[in-house]
Protein backbone atom coordinates (compact mmCIF):
# COMPACT_ATOMS: atom_id res chain seq x y z
CA UNK A 1 0.00 0.00 0.00
CA UNK A 2 1.43 3.47 -0.90
CA UNK A 3 2.27 5.85 1.92
CA UNK A 4 -0.29 8.36 0.67
CA UNK A 5 -2.94 5.83 1.69
CA UNK A 6 -1.31 4.62 4.90
CA UNK A 7 -1.01 8.09 6.42
CA UNK A 8 -4.71 9.10 6.20
CA UNK A 9 -5.75 5.63 7.35
CA UNK A 10 -3.40 5.82 10.32
CA UNK A 11 -4.66 9.28 11.24
CA UNK A 12 -8.24 8.10 10.93
CA UNK A 13 -7.60 5.11 13.20
CA UNK A 14 -5.84 7.32 15.75
CA UNK A 15 -8.77 9.74 15.79
CA UNK A 16 -11.29 6.88 15.95
CA UNK A 17 -9.52 5.35 18.98
CA UNK A 18 -9.37 8.75 20.68
CA UNK A 19 -13.05 9.49 20.11
CA UNK A 20 -14.09 5.94 21.04
CA UNK A 21 -12.34 6.33 24.39
CA UNK A 22 -14.07 9.68 24.81
CA UNK A 23 -17.45 7.96 24.56
CA UNK A 24 -16.84 6.19 27.85
CA UNK A 25 -15.11 8.95 29.81
CA UNK A 26 -16.97 11.05 32.34
CA UNK A 27 -16.55 14.73 31.43
CA UNK A 28 -17.30 15.77 35.03
CA UNK A 29 -14.55 13.57 36.47
CA UNK A 30 -11.30 15.19 37.50
CA UNK A 31 -8.56 14.04 39.79
CA UNK A 32 -8.75 15.72 43.17
CA UNK A 33 -5.62 17.66 44.08
CA UNK A 34 -6.40 16.94 47.74
CA UNK A 35 -5.47 13.26 48.03
CA UNK A 36 -2.56 12.98 50.45
CA UNK A 37 -2.95 16.52 51.75
CA UNK A 38 -3.85 17.47 55.30
CA UNK A 39 -7.23 19.00 56.02
CA UNK A 40 -6.79 22.79 55.81
CA UNK A 41 -6.94 24.73 59.06
CA UNK A 42 -10.35 26.10 60.01
CA UNK A 43 -12.33 27.30 63.00
CA UNK A 44 -16.05 26.88 62.42
CA UNK A 45 -19.11 26.55 64.67
CA UNK A 46 -21.51 23.67 65.16
CA UNK A 47 -24.65 23.99 63.05
CA UNK A 48 -26.95 23.55 66.02
CA UNK A 49 -24.92 25.36 68.69
CA UNK A 50 -22.72 28.25 67.61
CA UNK A 51 -20.86 28.16 70.95
CA UNK A 52 -19.18 24.88 69.98
CA UNK A 53 -16.22 25.38 67.62
CA UNK A 54 -14.39 22.79 65.57
CA UNK A 55 -10.81 22.77 64.27
CA UNK A 56 -8.92 20.39 62.01
CA UNK A 57 -7.92 18.41 65.14
CA UNK A 58 -11.48 17.07 65.31
CA UNK A 59 -10.44 14.60 62.59
CA UNK A 60 -7.54 13.16 64.59
CA UNK A 61 -7.57 9.55 65.83
CA UNK A 62 -10.53 8.42 63.70
CA UNK A 63 -11.32 7.58 60.15
CA UNK A 64 -13.91 10.22 59.28
CA UNK A 65 -16.16 10.58 56.28
CA UNK A 66 -16.69 14.32 55.81
CA UNK A 67 -19.91 14.79 53.86
CA UNK A 68 -20.60 18.20 52.28
CA UNK A 69 -24.35 18.67 52.10
CA UNK A 70 -27.33 21.02 52.42
CA UNK A 71 -31.08 20.65 52.75
CA UNK A 72 -31.49 22.62 49.50
CA UNK A 73 -29.59 19.85 47.67
CA UNK A 74 -31.78 17.05 46.37
CA UNK A 75 -29.00 14.52 45.74
CA UNK A 76 -27.84 14.96 49.34
CA UNK A 77 -31.27 13.88 50.50
CA UNK A 78 -31.10 10.83 48.25
CA UNK A 79 -27.85 9.63 49.87
CA UNK A 80 -28.94 10.29 53.49
CA UNK A 81 -30.58 6.87 54.06
CA UNK A 82 -27.48 5.07 52.71
CA UNK A 83 -25.13 7.20 54.82
CA UNK A 84 -27.29 6.46 57.87
CA UNK A 85 -26.82 2.72 57.30
CA UNK A 86 -23.08 3.30 56.96
CA UNK A 87 -22.91 5.17 60.25
CA UNK A 88 -24.91 2.39 61.92
CA UNK A 89 -22.27 -0.06 60.76
CA UNK A 90 -19.61 1.98 62.57
CA UNK A 91 -18.34 4.58 60.08
CA UNK A 92 -17.84 8.01 61.65
CA UNK A 93 -19.61 10.58 59.49
CA UNK A 94 -19.35 14.32 60.04
CA UNK A 95 -21.45 16.78 58.05
CA UNK A 96 -20.07 19.96 56.53
CA UNK A 97 -23.17 22.08 56.07
CA UNK A 98 -22.77 23.93 52.77
CA UNK A 99 -24.83 27.07 53.26
CA UNK A 100 -26.39 28.51 50.18
CA UNK A 101 -29.31 30.58 51.44
CA UNK A 102 -28.08 32.95 54.11
CA UNK A 103 -25.51 34.32 51.69
CA UNK A 104 -26.18 38.00 50.86
CA UNK A 105 -26.05 37.20 47.14
CA UNK A 106 -28.94 34.77 47.44
CA UNK A 107 -32.35 34.85 49.03
CA UNK A 108 -31.74 34.88 52.73
CA UNK A 109 -32.77 32.24 55.24
CA UNK A 110 -32.09 32.81 58.95
CA UNK A 111 -30.06 30.37 61.02
CA UNK A 112 -33.08 29.16 63.06
CA UNK A 113 -34.86 28.42 59.77
CA UNK A 114 -31.87 26.43 58.53
CA UNK A 115 -31.67 24.54 61.82
CA UNK A 116 -35.38 23.68 61.71
CA UNK A 117 -35.01 22.58 58.09
CA UNK A 118 -32.04 20.35 58.94
CA UNK A 119 -33.77 18.79 61.97
CA UNK A 120 -36.86 18.06 59.89
CA UNK A 121 -34.84 16.51 57.03
CA UNK A 122 -32.75 14.33 59.35
CA UNK A 123 -35.87 13.03 61.17
CA UNK A 124 -37.46 12.15 57.84
CA UNK A 125 -34.51 10.53 56.04
CA UNK A 126 -32.15 9.43 58.81
CA UNK A 127 -29.30 11.13 60.63
CA UNK A 128 -25.85 9.75 59.81
CA UNK A 129 -23.95 12.69 61.32
CA UNK A 130 -22.05 12.75 64.60
CA UNK A 131 -22.32 16.52 64.27
CA UNK A 132 -22.54 19.17 61.54
CA UNK A 133 -19.94 21.87 60.95
CA UNK A 134 -21.65 25.08 59.85
CA UNK A 135 -19.77 26.49 56.88
CA UNK A 136 -21.76 29.70 56.66
CA UNK A 137 -19.54 31.46 54.11
CA UNK A 138 -18.23 28.22 52.55
CA UNK A 139 -14.66 29.00 53.65
CA UNK A 140 -13.67 25.44 54.48
CA UNK A 141 -15.57 24.17 51.43
CA UNK A 142 -13.57 26.59 49.30
CA UNK A 143 -10.27 25.48 50.83
CA UNK A 144 -11.30 21.89 50.12
CA UNK A 145 -12.01 22.68 46.46
CA UNK A 146 -15.68 21.83 46.83
CA UNK A 147 -17.65 22.71 43.69
CA UNK A 148 -21.10 21.94 45.10
CA UNK A 149 -23.00 19.40 47.13
CA UNK A 150 -22.83 16.52 47.70
CA UNK A 151 -19.13 15.85 47.96
CA UNK A 152 -17.35 13.56 50.41
CA UNK A 153 -13.83 13.28 51.79
CA UNK A 154 -12.37 10.36 53.68
CA UNK A 155 -9.91 11.60 56.29
CA UNK A 156 -7.49 9.22 58.00
CA UNK A 157 -6.57 9.30 61.73
CA UNK A 158 -3.64 11.65 60.96
CA UNK A 159 -5.97 14.24 59.44
CA UNK A 160 -4.85 13.44 55.89
CA UNK A 161 -7.40 13.23 53.06
CA UNK A 162 -7.24 9.78 51.47
CA UNK A 163 -10.30 9.85 49.19
CA UNK A 164 -12.46 12.50 47.56
CA UNK A 165 -15.71 11.83 45.74
CA UNK A 166 -17.94 14.32 43.90
CA UNK A 167 -21.59 13.26 43.80
CA UNK A 168 -23.76 10.99 45.89
CA UNK A 169 -22.49 7.95 47.76
CA UNK A 170 -24.26 4.69 47.02
CA UNK A 171 -23.16 1.11 47.54
CA UNK A 172 -21.18 0.96 44.28
CA UNK A 173 -19.31 4.21 45.06
CA UNK A 174 -18.67 3.16 48.65
CA UNK A 175 -17.23 -0.21 47.61
CA UNK A 176 -14.98 1.24 44.89
CA UNK A 177 -13.85 4.58 46.36
CA UNK A 178 -13.99 4.40 50.14
CA UNK A 179 -14.18 0.81 51.38
CA UNK A 180 -10.66 -0.19 50.18
CA UNK A 181 -9.12 2.33 52.62
CA UNK A 182 -11.06 0.83 55.51
CA UNK A 183 -10.16 -2.76 54.65
CA UNK A 184 -6.43 -2.13 54.47
CA UNK A 185 -6.08 0.20 57.43
CA UNK A 186 -8.76 -0.58 59.99
CA UNK A 187 -9.56 -4.26 59.95
CA UNK A 188 -11.81 -4.15 63.00
CA UNK A 189 -13.82 -1.18 61.79
CA UNK A 190 -16.88 -1.13 59.52
CA UNK A 191 -18.01 -4.68 58.78
Amino acid sequence: MPTSKIVPLGLFLLLAILLFNGLFSDPAHRDSPFIGREVPTFNLPDLMDREIKYQASTFNNHYTLLNVWGTWCLTCKVELPYLTRLSESGVRIVGLYYEQDSDPMFKSQTLPQVQADVTQTLIQLGNPFEFNIYDEYRDLSFDLGVTGAPESFLIDPNGVIVAHHVGDINDRVWQSVFAPHFLTNTSNRGD
Binding site: T3, R30, P33, Q100, T147
Partner: protein, 163 residues
Amino acid sequence: MFRLLLMFFAFSVLTSFHVLAVEERYPLQTKQQQVWFQELTADLRCPKCQNQNIADSNATVSIDMKRKVHALLLEGKSKQEIVGYMKQRYGDFVYYQPPVNQTTIFLWLIPCLALIIAIWLFFSRRGEKVQSEIVDENVDHIDELLLSMDDDSTHQDNGDQGK
Protein backbone atom coordinates in the same frame (compact mmCIF):
# COMPACT_ATOMS: atom_id res chain seq x y z
CA MET B 1 -25.90 61.63 10.47
CA PHE B 2 -27.00 62.94 13.84
CA ARG B 3 -29.18 59.85 14.29
CA LEU B 4 -26.29 57.58 13.52
CA LEU B 5 -24.11 59.34 16.08
CA LEU B 6 -26.88 59.06 18.66
CA MET B 7 -27.24 55.32 18.00
CA PHE B 8 -23.51 54.84 18.27
CA PHE B 9 -23.48 56.75 21.55
CA ALA B 10 -26.39 54.71 22.97
CA PHE B 11 -24.72 51.48 21.89
CA SER B 12 -21.40 52.35 23.54
CA VAL B 13 -23.14 53.37 26.78
CA LEU B 14 -25.21 50.16 26.89
CA THR B 15 -22.25 47.90 26.21
CA SER B 16 -20.16 49.54 28.91
CA PHE B 17 -22.80 48.88 31.60
CA HIS B 18 -21.42 45.40 32.23
CA VAL B 19 -17.96 46.73 33.07
CA LEU B 20 -19.46 49.48 35.25
CA ALA B 21 -21.60 46.94 37.15
CA VAL B 22 -18.57 44.75 37.81
CA GLU B 23 -16.57 47.74 39.08
CA GLU B 24 -19.43 48.67 41.37
CA ARG B 25 -19.79 45.22 42.90
CA TYR B 26 -16.07 44.52 43.14
CA PRO B 27 -14.47 47.93 43.79
CA LEU B 28 -10.69 48.00 43.45
CA GLN B 29 -8.15 50.69 44.16
CA THR B 30 -5.84 50.71 41.18
CA LYS B 31 -6.35 50.45 37.43
CA GLN B 32 -3.90 47.54 37.40
CA GLN B 33 -6.06 45.59 39.88
CA GLN B 34 -9.15 46.28 37.77
CA VAL B 35 -7.39 44.95 34.67
CA TRP B 36 -6.24 41.86 36.60
CA PHE B 37 -9.75 41.28 37.91
CA GLN B 38 -11.15 41.33 34.36
CA GLU B 39 -8.37 39.02 33.13
CA LEU B 40 -8.61 36.59 36.03
CA THR B 41 -12.40 36.22 35.93
CA ALA B 42 -12.13 35.65 32.18
CA ASP B 43 -9.31 33.08 32.44
CA LEU B 44 -10.46 31.13 35.49
CA ARG B 45 -12.87 28.33 34.68
CA CYS B 46 -15.96 27.58 36.74
CA PRO B 47 -15.20 24.13 38.22
CA LYS B 48 -18.89 23.23 38.40
CA CYS B 49 -19.62 24.04 34.76
CA GLN B 50 -18.43 22.21 31.66
CA ASN B 51 -16.95 25.19 29.85
CA GLN B 52 -17.62 28.64 31.24
CA ASN B 53 -15.39 31.21 32.87
CA ILE B 54 -16.30 32.56 36.31
CA ALA B 55 -17.13 36.01 34.90
CA ASP B 56 -20.01 34.49 32.93
CA SER B 57 -21.18 32.02 35.57
CA ASN B 58 -23.56 32.56 38.44
CA ALA B 59 -22.97 29.18 40.07
CA THR B 60 -22.36 29.47 43.82
CA VAL B 61 -18.77 28.35 43.45
CA SER B 62 -18.13 30.94 40.71
CA ILE B 63 -19.48 33.75 42.86
CA ASP B 64 -17.30 32.53 45.73
CA MET B 65 -14.30 32.48 43.40
CA LYS B 66 -14.99 35.99 42.10
CA ARG B 67 -15.19 37.28 45.67
CA LYS B 68 -11.99 35.44 46.55
CA VAL B 69 -10.21 36.94 43.53
CA HIS B 70 -11.44 40.36 44.66
CA ALA B 71 -10.38 39.81 48.27
CA LEU B 72 -6.93 38.53 47.24
CA LEU B 73 -6.40 41.51 44.92
CA LEU B 74 -7.25 43.85 47.78
CA GLU B 75 -4.69 42.00 49.89
CA GLY B 76 -2.16 42.98 47.24
CA LYS B 77 -1.66 39.54 45.68
CA SER B 78 -0.38 39.36 42.11
CA LYS B 79 -2.15 37.69 39.21
CA GLN B 80 0.16 34.66 39.29
CA GLU B 81 -0.29 34.21 43.03
CA ILE B 82 -4.07 34.20 42.64
CA VAL B 83 -3.92 31.66 39.80
CA GLY B 84 -1.72 29.49 42.04
CA TYR B 85 -4.17 29.87 44.91
CA MET B 86 -7.04 28.66 42.73
CA LYS B 87 -5.03 25.82 41.18
CA GLN B 88 -4.12 24.56 44.63
CA ARG B 89 -7.82 24.14 45.40
CA TYR B 90 -9.42 23.29 42.08
CA GLY B 91 -6.51 21.79 40.14
CA ASP B 92 -5.09 22.73 36.72
CA PHE B 93 -8.62 22.45 35.33
CA VAL B 94 -9.52 25.81 36.82
CA TYR B 95 -7.16 27.83 34.61
CA TYR B 96 -7.75 28.13 30.88
CA GLN B 97 -4.00 27.96 30.12
CA PRO B 98 -2.96 24.34 30.65
CA PRO B 99 0.59 23.75 31.93
CA VAL B 100 3.05 21.83 29.76
CA ASN B 101 3.41 18.32 31.19
CA GLN B 102 3.35 14.68 30.09
CA THR B 103 -0.35 14.60 29.22
CA THR B 104 -0.70 18.08 27.74
CA ILE B 105 2.50 18.13 25.66
CA PHE B 106 0.46 16.72 22.74
CA LEU B 107 -1.53 19.94 22.58
CA TRP B 108 1.66 21.60 21.37
CA LEU B 109 3.08 18.61 19.47
CA ILE B 110 0.04 17.68 17.35
CA PRO B 111 -0.14 20.97 15.38
CA CYS B 112 3.62 20.79 14.70
CA LEU B 113 3.35 17.14 13.63
CA ALA B 114 0.35 17.96 11.41
CA LEU B 115 2.34 20.73 9.73
CA ILE B 116 5.34 18.44 9.16
CA ILE B 117 3.10 15.72 7.71
CA ALA B 118 1.33 18.27 5.50
CA ILE B 119 4.64 19.60 4.13
CA TRP B 120 5.91 16.08 3.58
CA LEU B 121 2.70 15.08 1.75
CA PHE B 122 2.87 18.26 -0.34
CA PHE B 123 6.38 17.53 -1.57
CA SER B 124 5.85 13.81 -2.05
CA ARG B 125 2.77 14.55 -4.17
CA ARG B 126 4.83 16.88 -6.36
CA GLY B 127 7.13 14.01 -7.19
CA GLU B 128 4.19 12.01 -8.50
CA LYS B 129 3.61 14.53 -11.34
CA VAL B 130 5.99 12.54 -13.55
CA GLN B 131 3.46 9.70 -13.46
CA SER B 132 0.60 11.99 -14.34
CA GLU B 133 2.22 12.93 -17.66
CA ILE B 134 1.77 9.36 -18.82
CA VAL B 135 -1.84 9.61 -17.79
CA ASP B 136 -2.11 12.79 -19.86
CA GLU B 137 -0.99 10.91 -22.96
CA ASN B 138 -3.78 8.45 -22.42
CA VAL B 139 -6.20 11.30 -22.04
CA ASP B 140 -5.08 12.72 -25.41
CA HIS B 141 -5.67 9.32 -26.88
CA ILE B 142 -9.13 9.18 -25.28
CA ASP B 143 -9.90 12.58 -26.78
CA GLU B 144 -9.06 11.22 -30.21
CA LEU B 145 -11.22 8.18 -29.59
CA LEU B 146 -14.06 10.39 -28.44
CA LEU B 147 -13.70 12.57 -31.52
CA SER B 148 -13.82 9.57 -33.79
CA MET B 149 -16.88 8.29 -31.90
CA ASP B 150 -18.48 11.71 -32.38
CA ASP B 151 -17.80 11.47 -36.11
CA ASP B 152 -19.37 8.03 -36.15
CA SER B 153 -22.47 9.27 -34.39
CA THR B 154 -22.86 12.26 -36.74
CA HIS B 155 -22.63 9.83 -39.64
CA GLN B 156 -25.31 7.76 -38.02
CA ASP B 157 -27.43 10.85 -37.47
CA ASN B 158 -27.07 11.72 -41.13
CA GLY B 159 -28.02 8.19 -41.92
CA ASP B 160 -31.11 8.52 -39.77
CA GLN B 161 -32.05 11.71 -41.49
CA GLY B 162 -31.61 9.97 -44.78
CA LYS B 163 -34.23 7.37 -43.88
